[in-house]
């Protein structure tokens, strides 16, 4: 494949990014690069500058320092965190996928089928449920075989199984297209499983590397220690377990707390 020759060349390279907003430093000296075939995840607490970093990488934010370089002819598929379509704008799923370039009927149908929303081409975008809307965004991002897929909190609103499926799907996409995938997420555990590399961001890069190494790093634990324990607790909880069948000690405690 022609891509293998350029595999070592990063798709996007950012050096020393500085972004200030309203006098606050949102990003400080952030270096980042992502290559084809790599899944890179950015984790960080709320307000740590994750979304700003993504926006800086696509050129939507004015930089106060540093430089972003895109590989020549880089095609980016972007899946934003939220997208508001004004109710006055009539837009079918098909028209959205055909924006700005026209695709033939078969391509549209195939893209929707792969995204798991077949037969929705003529539905209005505003009539889609939250999950379907997210899938339509994904279908459009993948339509022109991007070199780099960027997802901002794309698993928001999915349940635990949905999230796990979603990340399995990402690995499939990466293997099929040999594209780079850059994502921002809160879902620490699933993210940790799917990513090749994790960057832990809190305005600056606290630590980065292989998921396991990062989750053991003291900087990461300082940021996420408590949150992680909570997340793990949710994971260990058996959803099919009916609370009244057996009087588990921890549940009894919770109930006692509620009563008091």
């Amino acid at each position: 494949m022609p891509m293998t020759a350029t595999k070592q060349e990063p798709l996007i390279e950012a050096k020393g990014l500085d972004v200030r907003m309203g006098g606050q430093r949102v990003l400080e000296h952030v270096d980042l690069s992502i290559s084809a075939g790599e899944i890179l995840t950015i984790v960080g607490p709320n307000g740590s500058g994750k979304s700003t970093l993504l926006r800086a990488l696509i050129g939507a934010v004015r930089l106060d320092g540093g430089k972003v370089t895109h590989a020549e002819g880089l095609r980016i598929g972007y899946v934003p965190q939220r997208l508001h379509i004004d109710p006055t704008l009539p837009l079918t799923v098909r028209r959205f996928l055909n924006l700005p370039r026209q695709h033939n009927k078969a391509q549209i149908e195939q893209a929707l089928e792969r995204a798991g929303i077949p037969n929705r081409a003529d539905a209005a975008m505003t009539a889609l449920s939250g999950g379907q809307f997210q899938r339509a965004l994904m279908a459009r991002a993948l339509l022109d075989q991007p070199d780099l897929l960027i997802l901002d909190e794309a698993s928001q609103g999915l349940d635990q199984t949905g999230t796990a499926d979603f990340y399995r799907q990402l690995e499939q996409i990466r293997d099929e297209l040999n594209c780079g995938i850059l994502l921002v997420s809160h879902d620490l555990h699933v993210v940790m499983r799917a990513a090749d590399r994790v960057i832990c961001l809190n305005h600056h890069i606290c630590c980065q590397g292989h998921p396991e190494a990062v989750s053991n790093a003291p900087e990461y634990r300082a940021l996420f220690g408590r949150y992680e324990e909570e997340a793990l607790a949710i994971f260990r909880h058996d959803p099919h377990h009916h609370p009244h069948d057996h009087a588990h000690a921890p549940e009894a405690e919770v109930e006692a707390d509620d009563a008091g």
Binding site: R55, I76, L83, D86, L89, P90, L99
Partner: protein, 267 residues
């Protein structure tokens, strides 16, 4: 063949509504209605300045409208809510314009003609300016159609795919200033925004794609011009406002019809 003043009026109205249709859709989708009104109000100041400096009304209005648009863009996001900022600038521009006109005591000008238009007085020269501007606006809007549409839906998607939303917003602003400058003779500064918004909003009820809405707006605009001219001829009413009245009636009818049909489909 352009001797008949009704024919010239019809052609002038046609030029404006055709150019206003796709542009008006963006004004509606991007919630720029008040921005358009503010820019239009500044046009009175442009009229006063062009009379004082003896330059063409078109040039004066275009310059002041552009200046207003740039000023609004520059001041936005600096502490005041957009509607407050536009309210201050729009009415300040209108008031200063009206005061400036009153200084021009040696020039007899019919202020009403600039506030509400004077479509029946459109001459051949006016017609050339109107159609020149209309073709330019239509060209700009259609040229950037796909990119503007993407930018309207999401700035981030547009950036990621290599577009430049800031440049395209500027193009849209320029198109808005041009349409105001050419439409001042047709409906006047106070009713220009109506011709941008009402046909587009009326077309929304029965559109499934942006393109259908723009074409629908053009059709409704043409119908409004024809109906307004006919009405003002038979009922002896002011023409510009009559055109807007017809557009508003079409809007009310289509929107109600759309509601009823959807309610029936839902049951």
């Amino acid at each position: 063949m352009l001797d008949d003043f009704m024919l010239r009026a019809g052609l002038a109205g046609l030029g404006v509504v055709l150019a206003a249709a796709p542009l008006g859709c963006f004004v509606v989708w991007r919630r720029m209605a008040f921005f358009g009104a503010a820019t239009a109000h500044a046009a009175v100041l442009g009229v006063a300045l062009s009379l004082a400096l003896s330059v063409s009304i078109f040039a004066g209005v275009l310059a002041v409208s552009l200046l207003m648009a740039v000023l609004v863009t520059a001041l936005s996001g600096r502490g005041y809510a957009m509607d407050t900022l536009l309210g201050v600038l729009a009415h300040a521009a209108l008031a200063f314009g009206l005061v400036a006109v009153s200084f021009l005591s040696d020039v007899r000008i019919d202020l009403m003609a600039y506030l509400f238009g004077d479509i029946l007085a459109v001459g051949r020269g006016d017609l050339a300016v109107i159609w020149g501007g209309a073709v330019l606006v239509l060209g700009l809007t259609l040229w950037r159609w796909q990119a503007l549409l993407l930018e309207t839906i999401s700035d981030e998607l547009a950036h990621a795919e290599g577009h430049d939303p800031r440049r395209d917003s500027l193009i849209l602003t320029i198109a808005l200033a041009i349409i105001i400058a050419v439409a001042i003779k047709v409906v006047g500064v106070l009713l220009i925004t109506a011709l941008l918004i009402i046909p587009a909003a009326a077309a929304r009820a029965f559109s499934h794609t942006p393109e259908q809405m723009a074409l629908g707006a053009a059709g409704i605009g043409m119908l409004s011009v024809a109906g307004g001219l006919w009405g003002s001829w038979h009922l002896d009413t002011p023409t510009g406002p009559s055109i807007v009245c017809v557009a508003a009636l079409i809007f009310a009818a289509l929107t109600t019809l759309g509601r009823v049909i959807r309610a029936k489909a839902a049951t």
